[in-house]
Subunit: 212 residues, 2 copies
Amino acid sequence: MPVVSSSDRPCSSASRVTGETDVHAAKWIKLVRLDYVDPTGAARTWDAVRRTTTTKEAEADAVCVFATLRGGDAKEDEVLLVRQFRPACGTETIELPAGLIDDGEKAETSALRELHEECGYVGRVTNVTPAVVLSPGLSDESVVLVTVDVDLDAAENANPSQRLEGSEFITVIRCPKKDLLRTLDEFSAQGIKVFAGLYTLAWALENAKNLQ
Amino acid sequence: MPVVSSSDRPCSSASRVTGETDVHAAKWIKLVRLDYVDPTGAARTWDAVRRTTTTKEAEADAVCVFATLRGGDAKEDEVLLVRQFRPACGTETIELPAGLIDDGEKAETSALRELHEECGYVGRVTNVTPAVVLSPGLSDESVVLVTVDVDLDAAENANPSQRLEGSEFITVIRCPKKDLLRTLDEFSAQGIKVFAGLYTLAWALENAKNLQ
């Protein structure tokens, strides 16, 4: 079990947010000003970002799908990646298939829906993680990682066809799992930005032997 | 090598941002409105967030440090984690030691500095990743993962002491590497939010055997 190092500073568990004020709202995101108290009781402020689509009931804002393709024309296990232009980054990115969780939707349902819409495949959920936060200094934006198996021998996966919205232009990439980190490094070297949660996953898969 | 699935949609590599307008700036972050063209040539807009501290020269906004402790009183390899209250999340979080890269600073230098300030340890860099993006739909915020070895037998690590700013209250956690995912799941179950890039790393380390 973990050991907590001793420190002469108070533990942050006594901190809490005491107020949130909208500073400026755009259609999808807004800037807020938070008032909070630190563990000594001192009042402080913090700038943060909120998605305007976040609902209190949802377990997370979004899902990411770690989908493994097996059978069919896949000679070995493959991972599904998506390549698309991301205006916020000013470049194309390589990400896991992902999307916002609809109002009232379960993460599993959202993951299978997004996988089908973005990549055309039908899959089966094998694992769901807790909600984890993407950029904790900036926002409370959270995501659930859903692991999915895709059977390429299933009739429904014989002719995968994307169902994209008019503004979406997504290229589906099937990457052999053993080549994942090298492939992400090659895209990075071309100036195509890789999603952090995907990169650290690939890095750990590749380095697991040395790291354990 | 990866296979690209055929699609009837144009590839997004023809997209580009044509304009960026500040919508509202707070001290540390700002809302911007982006104009871009999609691969068909149609003009579109996107709401995004920028850190006001981002400089064009820096390789990334921030570093995350994956530090392994060996020797000393560590019976087995341990990973350094930090626990702190994050106003933007409204809760405490579990993250890797991390921080913004100072103007003109190299990622390696930043990583060793942050590790020393936040946790009190002196380490040696063993790997540096490309810059990867934390939340590509929302912002261009990027981070470099720096891997560091910490020798607990070194004299400089005999009495680790944090150098925190007045507003920082960070608890250092030494977690046996083999218990990492279970520990993160236990914190999650308590409502303490885990950083996505750390969670997927731990998940892949734990599942590497099944996944390869």
